[in-house]
Every structure is written in C-alpha cells, then in structure tokens.
C-alpha cells in the first residue's frame, strides 16, 4: 500500500508493508493485547489472525497470505513448554523448520517470513517485534508481484 507524506517539499511515496501475523490465542495474542493496554506504540502494518494454537497453523495459511498480497508473514506462539494445549507449539516448530526451507528454495526467505515465541506477559516484546519486523520488511520492499505464489492482479 502506498502512502504519500505531506510535507513542505515533494517527497516520494513511501512503501507501507502489509504483514499478516498468525498468532496463538493464549500467548501471543494476549501479549499483543497487553501491548495495547500498556499503550505501547507500535507499527500498524500488521494484521493479526488469531488461532487457538500455533499447532493449528497449516503452512498453507502462510502461502495463502502471500498469495493474497502480504509482503511478509509472522507466525508467533507460546514458548516451548508453555503451550496451552501442551504440545501444539512443538508440532508447529517442527513443521516450520522444514517449511521455511521449502520457501527459501522457492524465493521466500528470512526477510519475508518470521517466527517468534511471545508470551502473554511480553507486551513489550510484541511491540518491539512488530516494529522490528515492519522496519525489515519496509527495507525489503514490496513482495514481488512476479513471485509465482502471488495472485496476479
């Protein structure tokens, strides 16, 4: 999405990334909530999709996000050992290790796909994470329309 900044001198349109975040309900989503109630300021580029657990996240969801125009995807859940469903995040973790390899091979690398553990108490971590990821993606630029996984407009 393009946003023109108003200033006294003409400025180039800045690229504002669209980032999709798949987060678990019990930890990361609660952490995001805490960031909000703590009035922490963080970039608004991230659209959060809440799931009960990272174990529910089918890697296909990540591809769908890219397909539909996401410039980057963040997947975040409970720290190992803290999963509300005991082992959902362990299942997820194993999947991500393999899946990111496949995505890297096909042109979606570490500058577009991010993973984290954020607990319900880590509001600051969430805010910092969003700011950091957004800055990285802004630098990486728009996800190429020419990528074979992207829906042609």
């Amino acid at each position: 999405m393009m946003k023109t900044e108003t200033s006294t001198a003409p400025a180039p349109a800045a690229f504002e990334p669209r980032i999709t975040a798949f987060v678990c309900n019990w930890c990361t989503y609660a952490g995001a909530d805490l960031a909000g109630t703590s009035r922490l300021q963080y970039a608004s580029n991230m659209r959060i999709i809440k799931l009960p657990c990272t174990g529910r996240i089918d890697p296909l969801f990540v591809l769908k996000a890219f397909e539909n125009g996401a410039d980057a995807v963040l997947v975040s859940g409970c720290h190992p050992g803290d999963c509300h469903y005991t082992s959902g995040n362990y299942h997820a973790r194993r999947r991500w290790t393999l899946f990111r390899k496949l995505l890297a091979l096909t042109g979606i690398g570490d500058d577009r796909l991010f993973f984290s553990w954020v607990s319900a108490a880590e509001g600051q971590k969430f805010a910092d994470l969003v700011n950091d990821v957004t800055a990285k993606v802004r630098k990486a630029g728009p996800f190429r329309a020419a990528h074979p996984g992207r829906r042609a407009s």
Partner: protein, 266 residues
C-alpha cells in the same frame, strides 16, 4: 531376471499373494499385473523402470485384492516400509520382491525389507548432481529463485500425475479437492501452481523415499526432485529423519522433540 520370475510364480502358486505387480518386459516397462503363475514369464526389471509400484497400494481395486507382491528396488522397499509405518498396509499384506539392477534379492515383508535396507542400503541419498543443483539454487538471490520457479511452475498443467505416481499421496480426498473453502486454486495458470507444488512437496516431508517417480511421471518435465531433495536433506540434518528404514517409525511431522531446533525463532 529368471530368479525374480520364479519367485513371483512361487508366490502365486502357493497362494501367498493373489496378485504380483511388476513391470512388463517390453519397451517402456509398463506396470504389469500377474494373477496367474504362468503370467510371471512376462516380468522384467532394469534401471529404466521408473514407476514406483507401491503407488498401487493406494488404489481401492488393488487393496481389494490384498495380499499382493510388488517388484521393489530399494526406493520402493522404503515406500513399502513407510506405508507400513503409517498403517496403510497391515503386516503380511504386501510382500516385496526386492530387486537392484540385475539382481533379485529375495522376498520380504515390510519388516524384512527394513532389515535389508538397514543392512545393505543404509546410505541411500539424493544423487550428488541433484544436491549440487539444489545448492546452486540456494546460492542465487531470492528474486532469481522466484524467477526460476515462476518459469518452471508456469508449465504445470495440474494433471496430478505427480500425485498419482507417488505412493505417499494416498489421501482419498486431496487438499486440492477441498472446495469449502477452495484452499488451492485449481487454475493451471497462476499462483495455484506454486501452492500445489510446494504443498505437495511439503506433505512428503519425512516421507519421501526419493524414488523419482513424480518427476518421471510429469509430462512437462518439472524438476520436482529439487524440492524433494532439499526437504529430504533438511529432514535428515535437523531431525535425523530417514524414511523407510523402520516400519515402526513415528511420522516426522506427527511427532516432536523438546530439543528440536528453533534458532531461527525470535
């Protein structure tokens, strides 16, 4: 191949199986189904046989005729072991007529096949040339990799020959056949090709035995083995995964360890 034919004949004569699935000894080595001992004279095997006959174990018409015997080079032996580990075939329902090059190695059930693999084929891996191509691709920039796959996937016609040829693809309803919602676009021009090929490869993580039948079956010559080999190495390096050597093995993605790597997670 005389020993192979005799062994197949014996299995049918002794009614240990109702069908022998092998390759026919004529050009192209098509799949051949011998139901009578005297048909076994038409069986042959050599390196030009590229079909993975374990794919027939997912076919209802074949399942209705279990127990069956399959002519199985090492990669296919692994497929039989994987299907056993995934409870797709019960013990004794499939016998492998193990072959390698010109040799017939014996008749084995899944457990016996796994033992043979561990004893004589413990170092099966993707061909060095294939791994070099994977490395070569990884050394390119993400944009170059994207361009490479854009060109390749644009040829895909979504015929699903890769899926049909793979013994690991036995789902009675494939992810592409789900339309509420339509997870993967069925159009053969566009992003659906990427999603299909990547997800299909991913669904084989820790299960692919590198038989190459998918790539051989692809009418457009897509380099599917690049995806499979890359995942195979990752599964081995990260998790010590070697599918097809243990009929009791737990599925790779269906299990986990507290020690799994997460260095890339923040």
């Amino acid at each position: 191949m005389k020993a192979l034919r005799e062994a197949a004949e014996k299995l049918l004569r002794e009614k240990r199986v109702s069908l022998v699935i092998g390759y026919e000894g004529r050009k192209g080595r098509p799949a051949f189904f011998a139901a009578k001992p005297e048909d076994c004279g038409r069986l042959a095997y050599d390196a030009s046989c590229r079909q993975n006959l374990a794919a027939y174990l997912g076919k209802p018409e074949i399942r209705a005729r279990l127990p069956v015997a399959l002519v199985a080079p090492p990669a296919v032996l692994r497929s039989i072991v994987v299907m056993s580990a995934e409870s797709q075939v019960a013990p004794g329902q499939v016998l492998a007529l193990a072959v390698d090059g010109d040799s017939y190695l014996g008749t084995f059930d899944a457990a016996g096949a796994a033992e043979l693999l561990r004893a004589k084929y413990s170092t099966l891996a993707p061909e060095p040339a294939l791994l070099e191509r994977v490395q070569g691709l990884l050394q390119k920039s993400p944009a170059e990799r994207a361009a490479f796959w854009e060109a390749e996937f644009s040829k895909c016609t979504r015929c699903y020959a890769c899926r049909a040829a793979c013994p690991g693809c036995y789902c009675s309803r494939c992810i592409v056949e789900k339309n509420a919602p339509q997870w993967i676009s069925t159009a053969a021009l566009g992003h659906g090709n990427y999603t299909w090929n990547v997800m299909r490869a991913f669904h084989q993580s820790g299960r692919c035995t590198l038989c190459g039948a998918c790539e051989a079956a692809c009418p457009q010559g897509l380099p599917l083995m690049l995806l499979n080999a890359a995942l195979d190495r990752e599964a081995l390096e990260e998790f010590g995964s070697r599918p097809g050597y243990d009929p009791e093995a737990k599925p790779l993605i269906g299990s986990w360890s507290a020690d799994d790597d997460h260095s890339y997670m923040r």
